[in-house]
Each structure stands twice: as C-alpha cells, then as structure tokens.
C-alpha cells in the first residue's frame, strides 16, 4: 500500500501528520517528497546509508573567447534567458531552462551546457523502518524527476525489506513535484485547514488528483480555529463525493513533539489527537 499525503496549501500540517502515520504501525517505508523543504529528517534523524547525485537539468555557459556577440542565440531563446545589451551577450542562469537550443544554433559553438549536479537523494534507516529523502539544490528545476527517483528508490527499499506500507510526504501546490508524488499511488490524503485559502487550494488539488483517477481522503486539521469554515469544507467535500477521513483540533502538542524530535503519537500516544490519527489511519488503510 502506497499512501501520498498532500495539501495544496502549505503549512496545513502535512508533514506532522505523515510523520504520525509513519509511527502508527511497526515498520514502514517513508519518503519525503517535499524536496524543496524536506523536514521529516528533523524528527527521524535517518542514517545516510546511500547518497546519490541527482542531475537537475542543464545550464548554458558562454565561452567569451570565441563568442562574436551576434545575438542569434538570444533570438532563439524562448525563456528570456539571453540578452544582448550594448553589444554583449549574457545568459541569465536563473531564467535558463536548459533546453540546449542556443548551444545548437550558435555559429561559433561558443555555448556549452553544464549539468546541475548539486541535488542529492539520501536513503537509510530510521527508528521505525526505512527512509528516503531528497534535497533539491536552491533554484533548481525538474523537482518532479527527483520525486520520481525517490519513489523508485523507496519502492525498491520497501521490497528488499519486506515493508508493505509506503508513506509519501508530498510537497505543497499542484505543480510537477505534486503530480510526481500522486501518480500511481494507492491512496491520496489531502490535509486542509479551515481557512479560505485552505478550501480554495484543496479544491484545486482535488481536481488534480481526479485527473489521476484517484478519490482522495480529506483531513481537516485545526478544525476548531474556524468551525464554520470547517463545516463549509466538510459540506463541499461530501457534496463532491469525497470522504472526510476525520478532523483534528488545533493542538500545540504537534510543536512540543517536534521540539523533542518525536511524532505526536510517540509524544502523547493517549491524547485525543493521537487517538483520532489512529482512527483516520485505519480508515485510510481499509
């Protein structure tokens, strides 16, 4: 069983809830797919048994010894990455998409493409199983491909270690790393919160999940911050045929647990929140 936890809006409690799920049963495979802002390592201090380089595309570099500043590359670039100012060509590293077109059209072959090789994937063990996480280098792209790499790795690790539950902590948003996180999983869980933004972003991510023919489960976190909005979310979800797997109160114990590098179910196993999380987990796993 492969379960992806996503949210649309950031900061709804995705990672804290994924972490709790990862400590509710004996032995799981856990992957942090939020490669931009990976946080689960803080709670689990996993060992780094393996480290792999991830190539996040390419960047164009000009050799000014041979460049004639003819401007042809700038004419072809569709990413506004090349400019010709006062007769001098410059390439913006930030805007370059790594498509290679400039290097192919350059009449003096003055443009070479270098690999973005600062991103990493780590895999190892944590106290309740195996864990894989990624670290995308700042400003790098194609994070969806890194997520794919993480998912392939965690699948293999789970198989090698006879772990039948894989939990994926996903990134916020609806873009390429989210698409890579949910494609082909067994269950999608959306963690939302009772704010206008929480509802709006949940609606967008539900539409995305349905493009992948999955019916997501909804968790309304911090429901007591705005009970009226929680009801709105509940009603919208049920009217749209979605199952609300449960709701959780705003609970400062999530932060207390985090400070002790524990999950909430390890920190306070008998608390209302922990018991609710267990009920939700059982629902999702049926």
């Amino acid at each position: 069983m492969e379960i992806a936890v996503i949210s649309g809006k950031g900061g709804t409690g995705k990672s804290s809830i994924s972490a709790a799920f990862a400590t509710l049963k004996q032995g799981v495979a856990l992957a942090d797919c939020d490669v931009d802002a990976a946080n689960l390592y803080i709670l689990f201090s996993p060992t780094h048994e393996e480290e792999e380089v991830y190539i996040a595309g390419h960047k164009a570099i000009i050799d000014y010894k041979t460049c004639t500043h003819c401007g042809l590359c700038a004419d072809y670039c569709r990413f506004d990455a090349i400019s010709l100012d006062n007769g001098r060509i410059t390439i913006s590293e930030i805007s370059c998409d790594g498509c290679f077109l400039c290097s192919r059209v350059c009449p003096t072959r003055s443009i070479s493409m270098i690999m973005n090789d600062r991103s990493r994937m780590y895999s190892g063990s944590f106290r309740n199983g195996k864990m894989v996480h990624g670290r995308l280098a700042p400003g790098e792209e194609n994070s969806g491909k890194l997520v794919n790499m993480i998912r392939n790795k965690i699948k293999q690790v789970a198989e090698d270690n006879n772990l039948d539950t894989i939990i994926l902590d996903g990134p916020p948003g609806i873009g390429c790393p989210v698409i890579s996180t949910i494609a082909g999983v067994d269950r999608v869980v959306i963690v939302t919160e009772p704010t206008g933004s929480g509802l709006h972003d949940m609606q967008r991510v539900v539409e995305l999940v349905r493009k992948f023919n999955r019916e997501p489960y909804i968790i309304i976190n911090k429901h007591d911050l705005n009970p009226e909005m929680s009801v709105n979310i509940y009603e919208w979800a049920t009217a749209n045929g979605l199952e609300v797997a449960g709701h959780l109160p705003f609970d400062p114990a999530f932060v207390d647990a985090m400070l002790q590098q524990k999950t909430i179910v390890e920190h306070l196993p008998g608390s209302e929140t922990s018991l609710k999380l267990r009920t939700i987990w059982n629902k999702i796993n049926t």
Partner: protein
Amino acid sequence: MMKIAIASGKGGTGKTLVSTNLFSILSGKGYKVSLVDCDAEAPNSVAFFDVKLVESTEVYHKVPVIDTSKCTFCGKCQEYCNYNAIFLLPPVKIIQTMEDLCHGCGACSVACAHNAISEKEVSLGQVKTFSTRGKPSIVEARMNIGVMSPVPVIKRAIREADSPSGYILLDSPPGTSCPFVQTVATADFVVLVTEPTPFGLSDLRQSVETLKGMGKPCGVIINRAGLGNGMVQEYLTRENIPLLAEIPFDKRIAEYYSKGVLVHTQCPEVEQLLVNVFDIIIRDHGDSSNKR
C-alpha cells in the same frame, strides 16, 4: 520603484497574511503600491479584498504539431528535445508529442529539415489584473491545473505589474526552487516569514542560503512567536540577519485570517508591527525617489 518580495521556505507560515495586510496598510496611507500574487499554484491574495477584474490575459506556450505526411521519421527532433517530449517509433511510423512534458522551447522546429513541424498555443494559466478603490493594483498569477511549472505565468505577472514608480509587493511561492528564485530575482529586498519551530528554522536556513547565493538582502518576520522555541532568534543573531518583527501567536489572528478578514483592521498592534517593518526596509534599502 522598489520591489519587496514576501517569501518563506516552509508553506503556511504567513506570507499571504503579511503581504495582503502590508498592501492594505500602505494603500490606506496613500502610497502608490501594487501586490502581485506569484504563488501561481495556490493564489489566495485576491480573496481578502473587494476587487473588480480589470483584465485577464491568457499565458501560452508553443508546442509542436507534427505533420506525419511530411515527417521522414529521421529522429532529429527527438534528438534535439531535452525533455523527452517526442515519442518516436520509426519502424511503424509513429511519432507523437507528449504535450505534458514539452517546455515549449522550439528546438524540435529548428531541428526539423522537412518542414513537418508547426506549432500550436497551449494555455498555461492566466494573469489577472484587479482594481481596488478604483485603481488597478492587484495582479494574480494563476496556473492551470495539470500544468507542470508555474514559472512562465509568474514571470508574466511580474512583468505586467512593472511600474516606474511606487512599491510592488511580490507574494512569493513557497520553497527554494525555480518558482521562488524567479520571483525573488526581481526584488530589491526579501522579507522571509517563518515560524519559531524546527521545521520553520530548517526551511528558513535554506531560503537564507539561497538568497545569499543570489546576493539579495533579506530580513525575517517570525510569525506565531511564542509557539516553539528560541532557535530562530539565535540563528538570526548568529547570522547577523535583521529580525523585522515578531507577530505573536494569537488565536484571534488565526481566526480573522481564516475568515478572510484583513487582520490589521482588527488588531492595531499587528498594523503597527507591519508599519515598522516597512519603515525599516525603506530606511535601510529604500530608494530616495520613492516618496509617497
């Protein structure tokens, strides 16, 4: 003109709270100011204001259309494509564009020597301009669901909002990858909003390191101060990064925000904090041509 980006590594720390309230406060004080919602995957700023849609521009990119009657299945376009967006099986004469993978770079059209590739426009999202108090002042980048990258829509929205004078606030997407970098690259100053928790600190560190690499000045607002511990303050002191404000953890603020109410209209202390933030930024990084 001065551009201030409001960003955070971690999602949900209060970026939109800060940018919408700061925008409201400054326009209330008579400043020439506009707000650009660059969080194109999850745009939420507009909902806090009474707005009128002034203009909506569709953002497209060009994807190849292959004419199989002219195609010789030579494979040159596939060789040029760096995104694996062309699927080709020469023995059975099958060639197909994988539109989801295409970045619209145009390399395949250049590669084709048989004039078999033309292009069509595919929508990536919209850039919408809204007016508040009768003046166009909020620009929203909104990516279509199913599109891979928000970057083209974000770039277009920032261009759309460009103005020779006044202040532009950029509500940035979370994270430190391409969408964040594209947004902050154009800014004169970056306000990082974090929360005083280990997750907040870990993501803040990454944002700070990314901005250092880009040579961008930044300052930090700690939101929900009182929750968590003092690790963020210690980090800021150690790294010599200005702490612009601490917004206390207060259930009332969370409730107002969740109801779509601008918090500064109900909590004068939050308004004062944000006014101070703005004053600090102008004092230390402002451009003298920018008077109200």
